[in-house]
Amino acid sequence: MPELTVIEAVRQALDDALAADQRVFVLGEDVEAGGVFRATEGLAAKYPGRVIDTPLAESSIIGIAIGAAHYGMRPVAEIQFADFIHAGFDQLCSEASRWCYRTKGDAWLPMVVRTPWGGGVHGGQHHSQSIEAYYAHMPGLKVVAPSFPADYYTLLRAAIDDPNPVLFLEHKRTYRLIRQEVTGSNGEQRIGRSRIVRDGADLTMYAYGLMLHECLAAADELAGEGIEATVVDLLTLAPLDRETVLEAARRTGKVLIVHEDTLTGGFGAELAALIAEHAFEYLDAPIRRLCGPDIPPIPYHPNLEAFYMPDRTKIAAAARELARY
């Protein structure tokens, strides 16, 4: 396979899933025309009747996916921007995440909700949000957030095959920015597994989405100064791969957690608590989080957005401090 961007990997996964399983179908706003990011381009024509435009109604996009999945189909619902998924919070929290639990497995929902998230695109308040903190908090709902095209491909296929509802987060800034060879099997195949993408003895960084790439860039810069970082690509936020997270923390004893989402109550808080609780005796420095500030994310002007967003420079500075401690 050639090199694919993230959006191409997503489209390829949808294409291959639609081809492989008649139960798979796509629904969402503007999906028939290809979607606003071209994720579903060409699919409506290729799979007539199985790529369905919905009205502008996020709650029912998700609710209808629930019904169809309960019936036995494998719906892949698209929410146009993660910022708009909140209208469907009820359907995800009260219904989808509980469906299997409240029937003790008699009923289950093999459904996927995929949505573009994240900042760095001049998207302002409602086209830039991170949502993983809210949804990774719901037992019963899986939350996947890849960083590399190969993983986007394999994990989206895995999500579609999963008998559980999966929230599949696609970082929009990386859609066309990140390229990688995608063979269909060179990505992570299993939901619930994180990957150590870089090894280093001096500190450990955790990230996902765009920030993972920023961490790798920072790590390269730091290597030139003799500071070697371990970098963990979380890949799945729920269920969390505690084993890999803790092993990576124990390796260096110095932890830097990076996410775009605002600091307080962000997913990093969970990682920090987990590491503090289960790797306490291996810690050689206080656990550090580098996140967006506690302001409604993200303000629009480029100066304001740049102030908000963590980036490789800020990450390297924090890592340097941590390494020195």
Binding site: I7, F37, R38, V121, H122, G123, H127, K172, R173, Y175, R176, L177, A201, G253, L263, T264, F280, E281, Y282, L283, D284, A285, P286, I287, R288, R289, L290, C291, P293, D294, P302, N303, A306, F307, K314, A318, E321, L322, R324, Y325
Partner: protein, 408 residues
């Protein structure tokens, strides 16, 4: 000359293709007039000119794809140019410290608790490793902030310990009785890192520096009286140390060569007197530095010295406070010493002591004897920088200042 670049057209667009140029070099261009047609993955648009003037050089040909931000062409702006073209993209300035604190709450706290105050802090990782491998952490030098022992320090210590097998593993088993006897002969006193460090530095000083020593005797009867008066007036305890420190500072004004450091191959004579005070702290000798001591009044000196010494004894010195001294004084008289031969505190070139004040009969006038308060002032100096003549002159000045002290 203004440059037109490939614009960012759409949230995730990273490049664009010039389909067609509407203008050729030399053409007149009005503000907002279409310059060219651009195609991206998302949209096709015409690019309205941000400038008015004459079309200059074109950098990107029709059909060529370039990344966002790449220069497309130049426009020679007309004299009566309108508002500067294009949305200014100012770099975000570095955030203010307050803003930086707002960014992540954890940073400030990390600094505060980093144990920079000299207190020994061991992280969980360090404690675990030490327990696991039987390491006495007092023996481990710290390279973290403020001298903190880090996990890597312990690991390095372990590596060294392994590679240097215990010297004198007792020659193969002597009789049990002998072993017992040997054990009773001595007990091992572990050297703390502080003591090791001091030892290293002093050894080096003695090895490498030609140190000479001289001493004078001073009659401080008046000084003692002045001390009592001043103490009463100020309502506080006073030792002779602040008086001595003040005199040293004043003497150095006349003999500045003794207020110097050998640094990076240069002899640097300092303007300020950064006065090192030798203090016996529980962990060993420590020499905190009182910066710009020459500016302080007697009372100021007394207060500053008290505070510094107290903190030194409590182990609460800050990192900068033990560095940068230009001369060291030692109140050796406090131990009862009447003469001592101090070792230099490199890279300083002089160290002077105030010995114990002893009331002795001395000759006064031509043939009378009086009981006077006498004290010895000892000076060790770096003979590379200072010779005996200067050293003697300094001590002579010091003595006269102490013998005829002025009020605070």
């Amino acid at each position: 000359m203004a440059t037109v670049v490939m614009p960012q057209l759409g949230e995730s667009v990273t490049e664009g293709t010039v389909i067609r140029w509407y203008k050729r070099p030399g053409d007149r261009v009005e503000l907002d007039e279409p310059l060219c047609e651009i195609e991206t993955e998302k949209v096709n648009v015409e690019l309205p000119s941000p400038y008015a003037g004459t079309m200059g050089e074109i950098f990107v040909s029709e059909g060529e794809t370039v990344p966002v931000g790449r220069p497309l062409c130049e426009i020679v702006e007309a004299e009566v140019a309108a508002a500067p073209g294009g949305p200014p993209r100012s770099r975000a300035r570095a955030p203010s410290p307050a803003a930086e604190r707002a960014l992540t709450g954890t940073r400030a706290d990390a600094k505060a608790s980093s144990g920079t105050e000299g207190r020994r802090f061991y992280s969980p990782a360090v404690l675990r490793l030490a327990a696991l491998h039987g390491v006495d952490l007092d023996e481990v030098p710290g390279t973290g902030i403020g001298g903190r022992v880090t996990r890597k320090d312990v690991e390095a210590f372990l590596a060294r310990r392994e590679s240097a097998p215990a010297a004198a593993e007792a020659p193969s088993a002597p009789g049990a009785r002998e072993t017992v006897a040997r054990e009773a002969e001595y007990e091992v006193v572990p050297l703390t890192p502080t003591r090791r460090t001091i030892g290293d530095r002093l050894s080096r000083a003695v090895r490498e520096i030609p140190q000479a020593w001289t001493m004078v005797e001073a009659d401080v009867t008046e000084l003692v009286r002045l001390r009592e008066q001043t103490a009463a007036r100020l309502g506080r305890r006073l030792t002779l140390l602040p008086f001595f420190a003040r005199a040293v500072c004043r003497a150095l004004r006349e003999h500045p060569n003794l207020n110097a450091r050998f640094e990076e191959g240069e002899l640097r004579r300092y303007r300020d007197v950064n006065l090192g005070i030798a203090v016996a702290a529980p962990s060993g000798l420590v020499v905190p530095v009182l910066r710009r001591a020459q500016e302080l009044s007697l009372e100021g000196l007394a207060r500053a010295l008290d505070e510094l010494v107290e903190r030194a004894r409590a182990g609460k010195l800050r990192l900068g406070e033990v560095e940068g001294g230009t001369i060291t004084v030692n109140n050796t008289g406090a131990f009862g010493s009447v003469a001592s031969r101090p070792i230099l505190n490199p890279p300083q070139v002089a160290i002077v002591t105030l010995e114990r004040v002893v009331r002795r009969p001395v000759a006064v006038g031509d043939d009378a004897i009086a009981i006077r308060a006498m004290v010895n002032l000892c000076l060790t100096f770096d003979h590379r920088a200072v010779d005996g003549h200067e050293a003697g002159a300094f001590l002579a000045t010091l003595r006269s200042l102490l013998e005829a002290p002025t009020a605070a």
